[in-house]
């Protein structure tokens, strides 16, 4: 019978010579133990990216406004509004019953990162909208400044809660890295927002964006290394297959983007734009990579069984 499950119980018959080398783990005909989320990668990984871009963008926008960098402040406010609108649309689109999206605000539940996130978005979205509207029209500058401040306060939470959203599941590659993912997402969000600032603001304003880009690239690398170390054998899912490809590209592009923007972006506008675009791409690739690593770890039972076995023995 070809489908006979890999056997481990041979260990009960010590002394007997085994015909086949003992399999590393048992499974039910290789079928996954847990169910991978049915989320559309474009919607949910895209949401991780746009949410980060919006949240970190609001923080940089407030900084730009306080330091009199007007173009940077205005364009970041607009990009944050656009990104958060896109991400909300992606979230609603991914629901099995989009017409029931308002049920998200039916309860407020700290045990559900998705409930917390819905309320965060409900608070942050209007603030980002008001900040952008005021910046574009020039109306109600005081209210606009207040909204900018509120969006900057909520922004970091919008950028990092998505890591908890992914980690608060049974998906081995996400749950196993639940301590490191928030830092990775914060770094990736900062990379995206600084990239956006580099693309849209003049060179005389972009010094903070260059600094943020360098910080973000370093933090991204550190957080990813820490996550992989923590994950042990499950880290394979971050290194191989589609996720591996995406994450290797992400790393290279992020480093190249930060280096280009950091070294040349202060003098050369084309270098700033190129570096900024690379940072944006790198951040998006990172989110898609993490997403696909999670899916791969859910689909292969060994990533569920082996760590649990090891923990038990």
């Amino acid at each position: 019978m070809t489908g006979t499950p890999a056997r481990k119980s041979e260990r009960r018959r010590k002394g007997e010579q085994l015909m086949v080398p003992r399999a590393e783990f048992d499974s039910y005909y290789g079928r996954p133990v847990i169910k991978a989320p049915a989320w559309e990668p474009r919607d949910i990984a895209g949401y991780f990216f746009t949410g980060g871009l919006a949240g970190a963008g609001s923080v940089l926008a407030a900084g730009a406004q306080l330091t009199g960098r007007r173009t940077m402040a205005k364009t970041l406010k607009v990009s944050s509004l656009a990104a958060i609108s896109l991400s909300t649309a992606a979230l609603v689109h991914d629901l099995g019953r989009p017409d029931r999206f308002l049920n998200m605000l039916r309860v407020c539940k700290p045990t559900s990162p998705m409930s917390v996130g819905s309320w965060l978005l409900a608070g942050y979205g209007p603030m980002a909208g008001a900040a952008a509207a005021s910046a574009v029209t020039g109306w109600l500058p005081r209210a606009g400044a207040a909204a900018t401040g509120a969006a900057a306060l909520l922004g970091p939470a919008v950028a990092t809660y998505t890591a908890v959203l992914a980690a608060d599941t049974a998906v081995p590659a996400w749950h196993g890295a639940h301590r490191e993912l928030p830092y990775l997402f914060a770094a990736s969000a900062t990379a995206a927002a600084s990239g956006m600032a580099l693309v849209t603001s003049p060179t005389r304003e972009n010094a903070p964006a260059r600094g943020a880009a360098l910080l973000a690239a370093a933090a991204d690398k550190a957080a990813m290394t820490a996550a992989e170390r923590r994950l042990g054998m499950v880290a394979e899912t971050y290194r191989s297959g589609r996720a591996g490809k995406l994450l290797r590209c992400a790393q290279a592009i992020t480093v190249a983007g930060a280096a280009t923007a950091g070294l040349l972006g202060g003098r050369s506008r084309p270098a700033a734009v190129a570096g900024g675009l690379a940072l944006l791409t790198g951040s998006a690739l990172t989110r898609f990579g993490v997403f696909h690593a999670g899916i791969a770890s859910a689909e292969d039972p060994k990533y569920t069984v082996e760590p649990q076995r090891r923990g038990k023995e």
Binding site: I34, M104, S112, V164, P182, A186, A212
Partner: protein, 314 residues
Amino acid sequence: MTGVFFETGSLFSGPEPDPAGDAGHPDPPERVGFFTDTSVCIGCKACEVACKEWNAIPEDGLSLTGMSYDNTQGLGASTWRHVAFIEQSAPRRVPGEPPAPDGRTQLPLAEEDPQQPAGDMRWLMSSDVCKHCTHAACLDVCPTGSLFRTEYGTVVVQEDICNGCGYCVPACPYGVIEQRKDDGRAFKCTMCYDRLGAGQEPACAKACPTDSIQFGPLDELRRRAALRVDRLQEAGVPGAQLYGHDPEDGVGGDGAFFLLLDEPEVYGLPPDPVVTTRDLPAMWKHAGAAALSLAAGAVTSFVLPALLRRKGRR
């Protein structure tokens, strides 16, 4: 309730004697559950059929897997009982050899081949179901409150509230709950909530011809299971073990637990499942710290250029 809270520091994991009461049901009835004794399962799949019939679950594929007599493959949105079927080379019974041919001529066919001992094969059958965890991750992460804890201590989806966000699907450490593709909403075993309300046992337990699926108050089932597994172990049945019975385990014990004849993963069950919410306080803490570092990084990025410029001017 508060006792539990203070003893464990949280209601997210660990032993939890009264899940229904802690969910806010005043004076709930006894917690009920399933004890599935797979040692007497004959793989007839009457439970699968009864479940589909009673709950009016739609058809979800009529394929032949070719892997075993199991063509159902696993639990899902439209399969709330699933009989696993495993064919394997069997471990030898520990005490006592098979009865010797007393005074009869032993045919060469029955002679033991040292490489391939005779009778070295067995079938395992097990009817899987939603575990109705004491600490249910699906319920914890549901953002709409569609998943709820019933007065019987079971976990049920309210289909008129579910908006199909799909978060419960990867949250379940057993891979039980699933979204129906054409419908979008999530579905799973309700332990026949409607039948419980009418004082009836769930359809699967009612239909089971060998009492492999036993329904009743959870405490009583746990006692019965402990006796049964002791008997089997004494009789030398190798691998006999309880699964999901322990209130100290990662999900606080299952409302539906099992007597297995091999390791859980052979049946497609996780060997040491943990409710993801156990680590949620740590996750929020790290997310908070990450948010603060994001803000601090931004402040640094704006302050540094200003400082450098001032230095340059001097």
